[in-house]
Amino acid sequence: MWRILVILIAYLLSACSTSPTSKQVAEFGKSADAAVAIVKDARSAEVDLVRERTIERQACGFLRGSPIVLAAKPDGALSPNLGPQLELLGAISDYAAALSKATDPQLMADAEAAAGALSDSMVAFAGNLPSASSSPLIGPAMQLVSTVAIDVIEMEMRARLRKVIQQTDPFLRTATTKLLEDLGPVQKDIAGAFVQWKRARACSLEYMRANPGTPRSDLYASFKDADSVARQFQQRITVLDSSPAVLGALLQAHFNLLNGDVDIEISLQKLKAIVKNLEELKKALAPVPVNS
């Protein structure tokens, strides 16, 4: 009978220790943050590039004797505002944060501590009753009930979370596909603006180099400056180019929440605690030897 009880409880524990683990939820949160950062920078990188390109074009015109135009308006159209995309990603981030709070191991630790305190209080209370002839049994029984009750609560909580994740997964697939679709043209526009910026900057550099009056040190400094700015833009473009991988990782991290492995360590810890409770209960139930 005891063996059947242990097997039954072990089965319950293995079920309640499956997905989503706090580590998996943290992975999902990180992916969501990375996607938000990329989409935010997509817009600002394009704004920066178009502005810099305009300035470079005006500067080259100035060097070549064209009319002076200061603070010229950007000479190219920007991609549509990514507001709705950012709002959606913000909602995904909030969802990841909520999952992180709901799977915080501290929450279950608090529940276990509260249940432990309740079972201790009940044992102490029962000890004070005059007719507590069965008091040796009450302690282990209370501990067993509280341990199993907390596991059942945890299992129910995880089952509810799992259902929400399952329901949300198809929407995340649609969301990442839409983002992938919409970021493609933005990436293309940014890459185009970068090529044009480089061309405009090269125009000024060529003019300076062709002018024999330009000191070599100025030419060197101008080249170094242009190269440094180009590298910064190049770096931002490389990050933007990783957006399909980031969105894929976001999708995969969410899917993993539904397919988490059993947390063996937690299961074993709980199983040991329950076996200990059962042993104490068994001891309490054993007939007391009568001294002859």
């Binding site: 959606l88 529940a111 609560i153 929400v164 399952q166 949300t168 198809p170 493609g184």
Partner: protein
């Protein structure tokens, strides 16, 4: 014959692989990959018994779906917190009753 769950797993793996391929693809290939991802998304919806037209939802509708999910997750956490509070109160009540019993004994 494979189960629904196996089909979803296989379909998901194919989707993740397409995301990986998309990054390195040329423009014409990207269009084809996107088309394939849409098809897989619709199949995923169908396997879950959902309306395949969910795939056509706009940003605003999708944002609302995530807000709903967040509210449901928050509800689970709040219920757990409420349970902890109730157990703590019960422990305090039993402890007080124990003290009263000691005084009366």
């Amino acid at each position: 014959m494979i189960t629904n769950s196996e089909a979803i797993n296989a379909l998901s793996k194919a989707t993740f692989a397409l995301y990986d391929a998309y990054g390195a693809a040329k423009d014409a290939q990207k269009t084809k990959i996107l088309r394939l991802i849409h098809i897989l998304n619709r199949e995923h919806h169908a396997l879950l018994g959902l309306d395949p037209h969910n795939e056509d939802k706009g940003y605003s509708a999708l944002t609302q779906e995530f807000k709903k999910s967040t509210a449901l997750v928050d509800q689970v956490r709040q219920d757990a917190e409420q349970f902890i509070r109730s157990v703590k109160i019960a422990a305090a009540v039993v402890s007080t009753l124990g003290e009263v019993a000691t005084l009366l004994a």
